[in-house]
C-alpha cells in the first residue's frame, strides 16, 4: 500500500532525514495561515495516491499570501487521474542548486534489496534507467545485511554529492535503508533529494510503498492514521463493504458480475469474459474453503450492484466442497433473492452432490430458481463464460 507524501515524510523525520518545514491543510481557507507561518514563496502540493501530479498541474508555487488562497482553491477543485485532491502539503519553496535521486526497492528475480541512486533527480527514474543507464548507481544488498556508512559514502560520491556534504548524504542513504527495513517496505524513494543554495541536503518529496502483509507488526502506523489501502487511489464504497466482510473485491467498469473460486481463476475468468466479448463488473476471490455464509455475501455484493446485468459463477471444489457452494447459493436465493440472470458451473470435490442439492431445492421452490442456470462437469468453463456474455447482452437489450 502506498503512503501519501506527508505520511512518508513523517516516517523520514523519525529517522532524521531532513524534510522541509510544512503544513497539511484540507481547505483553501487554511492556506493563508499556513503560508503566513512558513513564509513565501511557498509550494502547494496535492496529496494524491498516484504519480505524475506535477504534470497534471497538482503542484503550484505561490509568491504571496493572496496567491496562496486562489491557488489552493484551484488545487482543491482538481482531480488527478480521477482522484480528487482532498489535502495539500504547504512547504517553503527550496532554492534548488542540484537534485539527486535515492531509492530502495526489492529485486524479486534475484531476491536482493537494491539501493538505486542518481545524480539526476526530480525526473522519472525509469526513464533515466532506460536512456542513460550509466547515470544510475545500483547497490544490491542481501536482506540480513545492514547498509554500512562506507558503502553509502561511496554511493553519495558516485552521484556527485559535494565533498563537504558527503557525510550528510551517506547518513540520509543509510537512514532511508533503515526506514525500508523497519517498516517492511516494498519501495522507498526520495525524488528529489535537493541540494539547496544554502548547501543543505533536504528530502523534497517522499514515495513509500509498504507490504500489506506486514502491516500487522507495525501498530505505530495505525497510531499515525495510516490504514490499509490500494497501491493507487482509495477504495470505492463497495470495495470497503467487501473488505469489511473479508472478501478481496475490486470494482471494474463492465456489467458481468464475477463469482469465481480462487484468485487465480478470478483473474483468468475475467480474461475469458473479455475473449467472448463481455466485460466484467468486478474481481472477487472467495478464498480457500469459503463457508455458505461467505458465498451468500459474495452474491449480495453482485446482486446489489446496479452495474451488474448478469452473474457468472464457477467453482472448482478443491478444499472447498461443491455441496457447501450449492448451500451458499441457495441461502442467498432464499434470504435475499436474485434479481438478475445467473449462469454457474460446479466441478471437483462433491460436484454431483452439489448438483443434486440444487435440483432438489429447485423442485421444492421453482420460483427462486427462475433466473438460475447451473451446470456440472459436462459443460466446459469456456461455454459458461460465453453464456454469461450472452445473458448480459440480452439483459442490456431488454432494458
Amino acid at each position: 500500500m502506498r503512503l501519501y507524501e506527508f505520511e512518508g515524510k513523517e516516517l523520514f523525520k523519525k529517522f532524521k532525514i531532513p524534510v522541509p518545514e510544512s503544513h497539511l491543510i484540507s481547505s483553501a481557507n487554511e492556506a493563508v495561515a499556513a503560508v503566513n507561518e512558513i513564509g513565501a514563496p511557498a509550494v502547494l502540493k496535492s496529496q494524491v495516491l498516484t504519480g505524475g501530479r506535477g504534470k497534471a498541474g497538482g503542484i503550484k508555487i505561490v509568491k504571496t499570501v493572496d496567491e496562496a488562497k486562489t491557488s489552493a482553491q484551484d488545487l482543491f477543485g482538481l482531480a488527478i487521474k480521477g482522484f480528487p485532491v482532498e489535502s495539500l502539503l504547504v512547504e517553503l519553496k527550496l532554492d534548488i542548486k542540484q537534485e539527486y535521486y535515492i531509492g530502495i526497492t526489492i529485486d524479486r528475480a534475484n531476491y536482493m534489496l537494491v539501493v538505486i541512486a542518481s545524480g539526476e533527480g526530480g525526473v522519472d527514474i525509469e526513464e533515466t534507467a532506460e536512456k542513460h543507464p550509466e547515470r544510475i548507481v545500483k547497490k544490491p544488498i542481501s536482506i540480513e545485511e545492514e547498509l554500512y556508512t562506507f558503502d553509502a559514502l561511496a554511493i553519495a560520491k558516485q552521484i556527485g554529492i559535494p565533498a563537504a556534504l558527503l557525510k550528510q548524504g551517506a547518513a540520509i542513504i543509510v537512514s532511508l535503508y533503515n526506514v525500508f527495513k523497519k517498516y517492511d517496505a516494498k519501495l522507498v524513494e526520495i525524488n528529489p533529494l535537493v541540494l539547496t543554495a544554502e548547501n543543505e541536503l533536504i528530502a523534497a518529496d517522499s514515495r513509500v510503498s509498504l507490504d500489506d502483509d506486514a502491516v500487522f507488526r507495525h501498530s505505530e502506523l495505525k497510531e499515525m492514521g495510516i490504514e490499509m489501502r490500494h497501491e493507487e487511489g482509495e477504495m470505492t464504497p463497495r470495495e470497503c463493504q467487501a473488505t469489511g466482510w473479508g472478501i478481496p473485491y475490486l470494482d471494474l467498469d463492465g456489467d458481468i458480475g464475477m463469482f469465481p473460486g480462487g484468485a487465480g481463476f478470478g483473474i483468468m475468468g475475467n480474461d475469458f469474459i473479455h475473449y467472448y466479448g463481455g466485460k466484467p463488473a468486478n474481481f472477487m476471490d472467495s478464498g480457500g474453503g469459503p463457508t455458505p455464509e461467505r458465498l451468500a455475501k459474495m452474491l449480495v455484493l453482485l446482486d446489489e450492484n446496479p452495474n451488474v446485468k448478469a452473474i457468472f459463477g464457477a467453482r472448482f471444489g478443491g478444499i472447498s466442497r461443491c455441496d457447501d457452494f450449492a448451500k451458499g447459493v441457495i441461502m442467498f436465493l432464499k434470504d435475499h433473492g436474485l434479481s438478475k440472470p445467473m449462469v454457474m458451473r460446479m466441478t471437483g470435490n462433491m460436484w454431483q452432490e452439489g448438483v443434486r442439492i440444487f435440483e432438489e431445492a429447485r423442485q421444492a421452490s421453482p420460483e427462486l430458481f427462475k433466473n438460475v442456470e447451473f451446470h456440472g462437469i459436462e459443460t466446459p468453463i469456456e461455454e459458461i463464460s460465453k453464456r454469461a456474455v450472452e445473458l448480459a447482452a440480452t439483459q442490456k437489450a431488454g432494458n
Binding site: I106, R108, A109, Y111, L113, E126, S142, I143, E144, K181, D184, K186, D211, D212, D213, A214, F216, R217, H230, E231, E232, G233, P248, L250, L252, P260, G261, G262, A263, G264, F265, G266, I267, M268, N270, D271, F272, H274, Y275, P280, F283, D285, G288, F316, G317, G318, I319, T347, G348, N349, P380, I381, E382
Partner: protein, 288 residues
C-alpha cells in the same frame, strides 16, 4: 519418475496439531502420502493419526528420517518455521500459508540457497505427484498419473489445467504450485529445469499471471530446454495498480503485464494458450 516428491519421500507436517494441519494431514495420508510425523512445539509425545508429534524439526528428522516438510502455520510464524526446517536438514519444503511478509520470504530464500534446499510457496496449494504423494491442499479428483508437468502461480488454475490434462488422457507427472505471493521460494525456471531433467515429463504447462518477474525470467531457460513448454497467463485484461487477491498479481509500472509476459514467453519458444481447451490441442499438434 517425478520431480520433488514421490512415494518414497518421508514427509513431515509443521503445525500437525492445528486445525488446518490435522485436516490436511488426514487427506494427504488418505491419498497415500508417506507422512512420518510432525511438529508442534510443546506437544511433543502426542500422536496424530498414528504419527508421532515432536517439539522440533530436528527431532523429527533424527527419529523418523523426515526429508520433506509441509508447513501449515499462520503466516507470521513461517519465517521461523522454514528456517528451522532448512537448518535441520529438510531439503524440500512446501509453505502453504498466504500473506507472508515479503521481507520474511527473502530471509527464507537466502537460508534455502545457503543450505541447498528447495522451498515452494508461500500461498501455494502445494505439490502433487499423482498416485504417489499429495503435499498441501490440492483436490485429488483433478489429477491422474501421466506425462505432462505443470507449474503454476495459482491453485485454481492448476486444478483447471490438470483436469483438462486428465480428461484428455495426458495425465500429469508432477504439478507444482509455485504460489501467489510476490516473493516466492522458487522460480519458474528452477522448476522448469527439474522437469527438463525428468525423463517421464514429455511437456510442461507454465501457468503465470500478472505481476512479478518470474515469467520473464523463465524466458532465459526455455530456449535451453528440449521438453516443450506451453504457456497460459492470467490477467490479460486486468486493471493496473490494484491487488487482485494475490499480493503478487500487481502490475507494477511497465513491468509484468500479462500480455508482455505471454509475448516474451512465446518469443523464447513457449507455445502460448488462451484458454484451457487450447492445451490438449497444442499437445496433440506437438505430438506429445
Amino acid at each position: 519418475m517425478a520431480i520433488l516428491v514421490d512415494k518414497n519421500s518421508k514427509v513431515m507436517v509443521q503445525g500437525i496439531t492445528g486445525g488446518a494441519g490435522r485436516f490436511h494431514t488426514e487427506r494427504m495420508l488418505t491419498y497415500g502420502t508417506n507422512i512420518v510425523g510432525g511438529t508442534s512445539p510443546g506437544k511433543g509425545g502426542q500422536v496424530v493419526f498414528k504419527k508421532p508429534v515432536f517439539d522440533t524439526v530436528t527431532e523429527c528428522v533424527e527419529n523418523m528420517g523426515a526429508d520433506v516438510s509441509v508447513i501449515f502455520l499462520p503466516a507470521r510464524f513461517v519465517k521461523e518455521a522454514a528456517i528451522e526446517a532448512i537448518r535441520a536438514g529438510i531439503k524440500f519444503l512446501v509453505v502453504i500459508p498466504e500473506h507472508i511478509p515479503i521481507h520474511d520470504m527473502l530471509h527464507v530464500r537466502r537460508e534455502a540457497v545457503e543450505h541447498g534446499a528447495t522451498v515452494i510457496g508461500g500461498n501455494t496449494a502445494g505439490v502433487i505427484t499423482p498416485g504417489e504423494a499429495n503435499l498441501g491442499i490440492m483436490p485429488d479428483i483433478a489429477f491422474a498419473p501421466g506425462r505432462v508437468g505443470t507449474v503454476s502461480r495459482s491453485g485454481s488454475i492448476t486444478y483447471y489445467v490438470a483436469d483438462t490434462l486428465t480428461r484428455s488422457g495426458y495425465g500429469e507427472t508432477t504439478c507444482v504450485g509455485l504460489g501467489g505471493d510476490p516473493v516466492l521460494g522458487s522460480t519458474f525456471n528452477e522448476i522448469l529445469w527439474k522437469f527438463e531433467e525428468d525423463e517421464k515429463t514429455k511437456a510442461v504447462v507454465l501457468c503465470g499471471e500478472i505481476g512479478g518477474v518470474y515469467e520473464e525470467k523463465a524466458t532465459e531457460i526455455i530456449p535451453k530446454m528440449k521438453t516443450p513448454v506451453l504457456a497460459i497467463i492470467g490477467g490479460i485484461f486486468a486493471p493496473p495498480g490494484k491487488r487482485m487477491g494475490h499480493a503478487g498479481a500487481i502490475v507494477e509500472g511497465r513491468m509484468g503485464t500479462a500480455k508482455e509476459k505471454l509475448d516474451a514467453l512465446a518469443a523464447a519458444g513457449a507455445h502460448p494458450c488462451k484458454t484451457f481447451t487450447d492445451i490438449p490441442e497444442v499437445l496433440k499438434r506437438l505430438g506429445v
